[in-house]
Symmetry: C2
Subunit: 208 residues, 2 copies
């Protein structure tokens, strides 16, 4: 019956390795590394526990593959937008908002997963993606600095990410306290698609 879930998710045939990776992705994201049992992943994939170790050697190695994929999902699609030299700052804000909200709507607990696992392991990740260099040399940061040389550009970045990502991060808490319903949430998020670019542009103009 658990294998049915996966079958329904993806009609086309998957290799065993892909089935395990998809299941691992789901279970790790929901329960975290420590809270996940390899047996659960195997069961969800509709295969045997031994087979999981045959393909991935260990829980740890399987987790690393999942984590790398999640980090790429969280940052990979945004990088081309912020490094594009041909778009204006305003266009980047519009595109990044749209793109991020789409990614997160499809992967609502991606940020919590990545953040809390990174915090627990405090691992070095500069090798996975050289984000620092890309950021500092990015067209986006240059454009922000040009517009607002008086402030650390990280303030704008953090505020943008906070406005965009934080609703998804805080969602479980809002749900637990019954502050928002599941069906209201997506409507709320779609409203923010319009609000966030307006707000960000507003405070790029707001001299302190």
């Amino acid at each position: 019956m658990l294998r049915e879930k996966l079958k329904n998710m993806t009609e086309k045939e998957l290799t065993t390795e892909e089935k395990i990776l998809l299941s691992a992705s789901k279970v790790f994201t929901e329960k975290g590394f420590a809270g996940t049992r390899t047996r659960d992943i195997a069961e969800h994939a509709g295969i045997n526990l031994a087979l999981l170790n045959y393909y991935f050697r260990s829980k740890e190695k399987l987790f690393e593959q999942v984590m790398k994929a999640k980090i790429v999902l969280l940052f990979g699609q945004i990088l081309p937008i912020i490094t594009n030299e041909k778009t204006t700052l305003e266009e980047k804000i519009d595109l990044a908002t749209e793109k991020y909200i789409d990614i997160l709507s499809k992967n609502p607990n991606l940020p919590i997963f990545v953040i809390s696992e990174i915090q627990k392991k405090n691992s070095e990740l500069t090798s996975v993606l050289p984000i620092k260099k890309v950021f500092n040399n990015s067209s986006l940061i240059k454009q922000i600095k040009e517009k607002r040389p008086d402030l650390n550009p990280l303030h704008f970045l953090v505020t943008f990410l906070g406005m965009t990502i934080f609703p998804f991060v805080a969602k479980p808490v809002f749900r637990a306290f019954d502050i928002i319903q599941e069906d209201e949430f997506q409507y709320f998020i779609n409203e923010r698609k319009k609000l966030i670019p307006i707000w960000i542009k507003t405070f790029l103009e707001t001299k302190i």
Copy 2:
């Protein structure tokens, strides 16, 4: 040697129960429920494992006590500010920013802990704190609605919390990618103490 840590933390004498609670608070917050071993808590508290169960019956029950305290820490001090009928909206924004940044500076991974554990257990918490009722009837929400009847007041609340809490949530990721140093962080956060109230007030004025 581990017991030394706790001794240094708090010079005055603590009861065994308090020692266990303090240690549990620390270890659970760092590693989460599933990643924590009761042995670690006992060792950190400088007591024996059996004693932990003597006082708290089980890992689960100990965790629940810690979690309740964390939720009170995260929301308890903010509630008096937002329900105060005598302050203006602007004063509330100033006070809440100041208070929240102080709490989070002292408890940087409080939000990640609460959020990720709530997500994993998706538990009912309306009994711990009746936040929904308090929010909806709060002076803050009334004042926002009065000023901006055109928008769901949750947008302002989420944006405020995102600007304030998100830097602490994202910090482990920024550290892992070497985007910010530990000593820069507190300076960055202090800059935000001034920026956030200005920005929030600006949004409240920005008609869409």
